[in-house]
């Protein structure tokens, strides 16, 4: 942790994420107005003392909407990634540890899925399941699964031939012990790194789905949806669109920088 804060990229990512975390946890409490409350007399206003970031087409306070929207946006990213890691990690671990025909079969299937771009894949799933925040999250998790499974599997393969695993097999340990106690603890680090970077993609995918009307539904303050709702008015008050856009970019950047730093720090070649 201390090393992470000494790493310049890591520090920048951590600072950004700390701000995002405060918004996620305390957003609704520190928001100056009710994010859903209409102020018909002050529609599409620029920044002022009363409304720091101005108001949207219904006169709702943009700052309050951004602050409350952090929670749904970030939780979407984290939730989708975690579900993807759990499913993909488990599949990769099993494929890598069992090997042979099972491995070949699973990996060929996943290769097929990998050929489809993430966005197209999520759109496909949402179209089949129907829109909404929950379905969108599930779709992103499924889209992430093949890539994460591939990373988990390749890590398992490199660990599986290490001598401490051979030593365990020579002792007569059960396959379950070998997987759970010898292999798994040594595969966590690369998966965490990959997952951290993926949270940023999940946030962007979620925002994209929200923008397309396939993710979060009004009156949610999800940032992608905010952009979609305000886009007709973006020439009358650019902040309506710019504020959620910048928020999405900063959140994604924060996770991305942190992931990069984690990758540098866990790479043994970069350490002494």
């Amino acid at each position: 942790m201390r090393e992470l804060l000494r790493h310049p990229t890591g520090l920048a990512g951590a600072v950004l994420l700390a701000i995002i975390a405060v918004m996620t946890i305390f957003g609704p409490l520190i928001a100056p107005y009710d994010p859903q409350q209409f102020h018909p007399l002050s529609r599409l206003q620029g920044p002022s003392v009363a409304y720091w970031l101005g108001t949207d087409q219904f006169g709702r306070d943009i700052l309050s909407r951004i602050l409350t929207g952090a929670r749904s946006t970030i939780l979407f990213g984290l939730g989708a990634t975690m579900a993807g890691v759990a499913a993909g990690g488990a599949i990769g671990l099993i494929a890598g540890a069992i090997g042979g025909a099972v491995d070949s079969l699973i990996m060929r299937l996943l290769d097929g899925l990998l050929a489809v771009p993430d966005l197209l894949f999520t759109l496909l799933i949402v179209t089949v399941l129907g829109g909404g925040s929950g379905h969108a999250m599930l779709a992103v998790a499924i889209a992430f699964m093949p890539g994460l499974a591939r990373i988990a599997r390749s890590t398992v393969l490199s660990v599986r031939t290490r001598e401490f695993v051979l030593a365990a097999q020579a002792r007569g340990e059960s396959p379950a012990y070998v997987i759970a106690c010898e292999i798994m603890p040594n595969t966590i680090a690369p998966i965490i790194v990959e997952a951290t970077i993926r949270v940023s993609f999940a946030i962007m995918l979620g925002a994209t789905l929200g923008f397309l009307g396939l993710g979060a539904q009004p009156p949610s303050t999800e940032w992608g949806l905010m952009i979609a709702e305000a886009r007709q008015y973006m020439f009358r008050n650019p902040i309506c669109v710019a504020a959620p856009g910048v928020a999405i970019a900063l959140a994604a950047l924060g996770f991305n920088l942190l992931g990069d730093a984690l990758r540098d720090l866990t790479d043994p070649r970069g350490r002494r």
């Binding site: 000494r6 001598e163 401490f164 020579a170 002792r171 603890p185």
Partner: protein, 551 residues
């Protein structure tokens, strides 16, 4: 060696070919400045070889990099100078250095497979140096390259020029690297452990070639190695480096005969001496046989079902063929051979981690396939691997690692486990608080002790040691070997001791088996090693080995 002196004096230039004057180097790390070299003074005249001896982390490779001007960005030169024929290398500009590298200073690294480019033929790589520095045309460079290869003892140089690195053996590749180093008639060549990655017989040939070439060309050489016996054979002068400081230097014969510094003495004392036995007398002939193998054969690779159906893939390779060995109770059987000879394969089959054909009779078990090996067999036969960095799980504490066999085989329960772990740590001479540490917090020798403790925790009847000292520094090797012998004698376990180090195996083993390309070619009592009736391969191994040093 008198020829060298003649050549050196024939050239009027009396300045040493390579010199370091009070040279100091440090690395910047997050923890502060770490000094790698402290006021190094060396001087190598033309036609001479200086052996630089030190253990890993002593700074010997840092010095080579500094001379080649390949310093990493965090390196800080604190003072002194490096001189090539009297010219300061520190004062030379980057473009001048590029002209010096390869032309006036050659370098030969440890592993020829990483120092050659896999996408170019050997000929192209050799010719490149000639074209770059000696301004030859391509045709000239290729014919000169062939001549150079012929001088390094390659029998068909024209064919070798056309091959890619993966089509040549390790010895052949190292000959190409040496030919490249000599290509531009340099003033000085740096050798960084050039034979460590090669087997005994090949490295002997490489050293002979180097000596002949040096006599012909009068090049000065800095020969970096951890192997005292080897350095004593090849170097005119020796410098001993310890923690970045040269602690002793002198003419080779004098230094080894009469070492002054404590560290030099310790290094020499740690080198294996076959005339001093570490293990006790051989067990009685009547002692029961613990392990016997019959027609033990191990195959590698082979085609998968899919490849067979499609008619592709390669047939299996036999790693070991019809091996018959037996080990008596309390006996140490040494297995020697070159890398790839199949000695580790045999170990892995007996330890139950490689599929085999044939019969293994061990203790009261008779097994004919890997899946028939029971847990009680596995408890009684423990294996220790070469590299403790790989054989200890980096995410487990030392205490957990040693306790695992106790729990698995039900050898201790509850608080008994902790007590037994402490006892085992004491047996391998490690403090009890090491139980709470992770492997990366330990030195190489300490890690190997942990691996030994884990093996003996199971109270085995047979301990299989697969090159357990080869990844350790010389001074640690002897201590680990001694520890193993003590534990083995105490526990009356039998031992299969696999190694490529003939001097070491003669100190330990009661009997010695020699494997060559998967076959058991010789098996004899340790005392009969020198006998004339030995298999020709055993004799070749013995001749290729550098003679042990005797202070």
């Amino acid at each position: 060696m008198t020829q060298n002196t003649a050549i050196a004096s024939a050239r009027p230039d009396a300045r040493p070919a390579l010199e370091a004057r009070a040279y100091s180097l440090a690395y910047e790390t997050p923890g502060g400045l770490v000094q790698a070299l402290k006021s190094i003074d060396i001087s190598i005249p033309r036609g001479k070889t200086l052996g630089l001896v030190g253990e890993s982390g002593s700074g010997k490779t840092s010095l080579a990099w500094a001379i080649m001007r390949y310093l990493p960005r965090n390196a800080r030169e604190l003072g002194g100078d490096l001189l090539l024929a009297g010219e300061s290398l520190r004062a030379t500009s980057k473009s001048q250095i590029a002209d010096i590298r390869g032309a006036r200073i050659g370098m030969v690294f440890q592993d020829p497979s990483t120092s050659l480019n896999p996408t170019l033929t050997l000929g192209e790589q050799l010719a490149e140096t000639l074209i770059r520095h000696r301004k030859m045309s391509k045709a000239q460079a290729f014919s000169e390259g062939e001549a150079l290869l012929a001088r390094t003892g390659i029998t068909r140089p024209a064919a070798m020029m056309k091959r890619y690195p993966h089509e040549a053996s390790g010895g052949e590749k190292q000959r190409v690297v040496i030919a490249t180093a000599f290509a531009c008639d340099p003033e000085c060549i740096l050798f960084d452990e050039p034979t460590t990655a090669l087997d005994t017989i090949t490295s002997r040939q490489i050293l002979d070639i180097f000596q002949t070439l040096q006599e012909d060309t009068g090049v000065a050489a800095l020969y970096i190695s951890h192997d005292l016996a080897l350095v004593s054979r090849i170097a005119h002068d020796v410098a001993v480096i310890h923690r970045g400081e040269i602690v002793e230097r002198g003419a080779t014969a004098t230094l080894f005969r009469n070492p002054q510094h404590d560290y030099t003495r310790a290094l020499i004392a740690a080198a294996p001496r076959p005339d001093i036995r570490l293990s006790g007398p051989a067990p009685d002939i009547a002692a029961p046989t613990v392990l016997a193998t019959q027609d033990l054969t191990v195959r590698y690779g082979g085609r998968s079902l899919l490849q067979k159906l499609m008619g592709r893939g390669e047939a299996a390779v036999e790693g070991a063929r019809k091996i018959d060995i037996d080990v008596r109770e309390g006996e140490i059987l040494g297995i020697v051979g070159e890398s790839g000879s199949g000695k580790s394969t045999i170990a892995r089959a007996i330890a139950g981690i490689a599929d085999f054909n044939g019969t293994i009779s061990f203790d009261d078990h008779v097994v004919q396939e890997r899946s028939a090996i029971s847990r009680s067999y596995r408890r009684a036969a423990q294996i220790i691997f070469q590299n403790p960095d790989a054989s200890l799980n980096p995410r487990q504490r030392v205490g957990e690692i040693i306790a695992r066999p106790l729990k698995l085989y039900g050898l201790a329960r509850g608080s008994g486990i902790e007590a037994r772990v402490a006892e085992l740590l004491a047996q391998v001479r490690l403090p009890a608080d090491f139980a709470g540490r992770y492997p990366h917090q330990l030195s190489g020798g300490e890690k190997q002790r942990v691996a030994i403790a884990r093996a003996f925790a199971a109270r085995p009847k047979l301990v299989i040691c697969d090159e357990i000292t080869s990844s350790l520094d010389v001074s640690v090797q002897a201590a680990v070997a001694r520890l193993l012998v003590d534990l083995q004698a105490e526990s009356k376990a039998s031992c299969l001791f696999i190694t490529h180090d003939l001097n070491l195996v003669r100190q330990l083993a009661h009997r010695i088996a020699v494997v060559y390309r998967g076959d058991l070619v010789d098996l004899f009592e340790a005392a009969d090693f020198d006998a004339q009736k030995r298999h020709p391969y055993t004799r070749a191994l013995l001749e290729a080995m550098p003679p042990p040093i005797h202070p």
